[in-house]
């Protein structure tokens, strides 16, 4: 409702970490002083089935608790979802769509039937394979989202994610570095 509020919708497949990405994104932004919400859409939960999760970000207290129907940003973790899910639903001409794909943005613009400046592409799966060693595109997509939103400070985000990951993976420092590198690379490479 409020003009300052940013709403994000994540599309993924069960097991790809769409929910985790939304939660991590929210926790990270909280540490930078924002008010946040992160919530998944609960339906039949099966590995590989289409899932959605959501974020609200604001400088003011967020009291609204309805679903998000007109997101400012859509993040697509798996490009095959564009064939089966209406990923542009509720996105107006100012909305941005960030896709994990090896295609270029013009191909995606054509496929989705949106304006040229609405699509951002990033090969997050490739980055994940090269930095983390597994095709888990959710953390690199965080970096891409931070870049596209623009108003957020990537260094703050990286620092806060480092703190989060350090408590979770203190015995596996390579996981932490891999994830941070993937975020930074996606931030730099998204276009």
């Amino acid at each position: 409702m409020s003009k300052k509020m940013i709403e994000v919708r994540w599309h993924g497949r069960g097991g790809q970490g769409a929910k985790t990405a939304a939660l991590l994104f929210a926790e990270t932004l909280l540490a930078t002083g924002k008010y946040i919400q992160a919530f998944p859409e609960y339906g039949p939960e099966r590995m590989g089935a289409p899932v959605q999760s959501f974020n609200r970000i604001s400088d003011e207290i967020i009291t609204i608790h309805s679903g998000i129907t007109n997101p400012n940003y859509v993040v697509i973790l798996d490009s095959s979802l564009m064939n089966s899910v209406n990923v542009t639903y509720g996105v107006d001409n100012n909305g941005k769509i960030i896709v994990n794909t090896s295609l270029n943005s013009q191909d995606i613009v054509k496929k989705l039937g949106v304006l040229t400046n609405q699509v951002c592409v990033i090969n997050a799966s490739k980055i994940a394979l090269e930095t983390i060693g597994k095709d888990i595109p959710n953390t690199p997509m965080l970096g891409a989202l931070v870049k596209v939103i623009g108003a957020l400070n990537i260094d703050d985000v990286l620092e806060n994610i480092r703190v989060k990951l350090m408590t979770k993976f203190r015995h596996k420092p390579e996981v932490i570095e891999g994830n941070l590198t993937s975020i930074k690379r996606a931030f730099d490479e998204v276009c």
């Binding site: 909280l30 919400q37 609960y42 207290i61 009291t63 609204i64 608790h65």
Partner: protein, 403 residues
């Protein structure tokens, strides 16, 4: 939620279930007996991990059903322990006969409850049919708009229940709050422990020096007196809840009452709600105020005991009021909150000059309710005030397909 005036806590991002488990960790009851059920499972899952990790000394009893969960907490409470549980929907239904035992025996069991629709048809999403059905069970019912309130209400409910000698539950809306991560201020363990204090029951079954009888047969000669005492305890609990809220405000800085008035004092049209939709509605009220429309909102926090007289006094001069129920009584008449509010207005002699009141039922089985729906309700109220539309004398259903 009202803004912090003396923040001493830590700002964290947590879901409704996580903060309820966090409150239970800090309360560290002697006994928790529970059975998992969506969407409340995480509360006891996280809590049982605290026990397994040796972080707290509570006794966790993994029972085989909710009926046993409630039976076990009742027994533990009767023995003199601080006892808690958590459940939702069908789980609460299975506890049914034991709910009345807990209140009838005047045992301060405290429960975290996540509102979810009742079967059939089976549905895991949020509505308030489960706890609304328990409205006559003698339990104190405290509803939360968001995770912060869920956390604060859990802490307060321990003291309320123990002072009132009544069981109490605190609810959140299933998934909408239970699974939504948002910003919560959590307080230091030591402050929470100091606030709730040590549980010192006046009498308890394991006090072998002072034996007494509990739960014996009670026929025509005394049953009525005991039920009267239970009803009176519920009425008296209003002051206890306000006293605890005063202390809470002094300690942690957040203000709570039996209900929250949001821009209601000069309102011409208003809605009465319970739970998370209050937050969504506040966005609408703010917007309407910007447009010069005198809209207000009254959010019921404590539904049992029902703040009848107070609510009626605050609503009586408003021209048109919509009362929103997230449960349908299937009574052939009206929803539960409407019935209570309407009766309250009549009880203060408002029958002839009563506000025009409309009953809406919304959100059953987790059906979406958003700002557009709330706007349409205020729009209808405006028309009723202007006299261009009559107010309905039956339930209006929001966002449902009706042939």
């Amino acid at each position: 939620m009202i803004k912090t005036v003396c923040s001493r806590g830590k700002i964290v991002a947590k879901t409704g279930n996580e903060v309820m488990a966090e409150a239970m960790r800090q309360i560290e009851p002697d006994v928790v007996a529970a059975y998992p059920i969506t969407p409340a499972t995480e509360i006891v899952q996280i809590f049982s991990q605290f026990v397994a990790d040796g972080i707290i000394k509570s006794e966790f009893v993994a029972v085989e059903s909710e009926h046993s969960a409630m039976s076990t907490t009742i027994a533990a409470s009767a023995a003199g322990a601080r006892a808690m549980t958590a459940t939702s929907s069908q789980g609460l239904s299975l506890m049914w006969e034991m709910l009345y035992i807990a209140s009838g025996l005047r045992l301060p069991v405290v429960m975290a409850e996540v509102n979810r629709a009742l079967s059939a048809p089976i549905n895991i999403h949020g509505d308030q049919s489960d706890t609304m059905g328990a409205r006559d069970s003698g339990w104190i019912q405290i509803y939360s708009e968001n995770s912060q309130e869920a956390y604060d209400n859990m802490i307060q409910s321990i003291r309320i229940a123990e002072k009132a000698k009544l069981p109490a539950f605190v609810t959140t809306d299933g998934f909408i709050i239970s699974h939504c991560m948002e910003v919560v201020e959590v307080y230091p363990d030591v402050d929470v422990k100091a606030f709730i204090g040590e549980y010192k029951p006046d009498r308890y079954l394991l006090d072998v020096k002072n034996p007494y009888t509990l739960g014996s047969i009670d026929l025509q000669d005394y049953y009525f007196e005991h039920r009267y005492q239970l009803a009176k305890a519920m009425t008296d609990a209003k002051d206890i809840i306000l006293d605890v809220a005063d202390d809470f405000k002094e300690t942690f800085g957040r203000e709570y009452g039996l209900y929250e008035k949001y821009m209601i004092d000069d309102a011409e049209i208003a809605i009465v709600v319970i739970g998370s939709v209050a937050g969504t509605s506040k966005v609408v009220v703010k917007e309407l105020r910007k447009r010069g429309i005198k809209a207000g909102l009254l959010k019921i926090r404590v539904y049992r005991p029902f703040p009848s007289y107070q609510i009626a006094k605050d609503l009586k001069r408003i021209k048109a009021v919509a009362i929103l129920d997230k449960a349908d009584s299937c009574s052939g008449a009206f929803g539960p909150i409407y019935s209570d509010v309407a009766a309250s207005l009549c009880s203060i002699g408002m029958v002839s000059s009563c506000p025009k009141i409309v009953n809406y039922v919304y959100g059953l089985g987790g059906r979406e309710i958003n700002t557009d729906h709330i706007f349409s309700i205020y729009e209808k109220l405006k028309k009723i005030v202007l006299g261009v539309e009559n107010f309905s004398n039956k339930i209006e259903y929001i966002n449902v397909r009706i042939k």
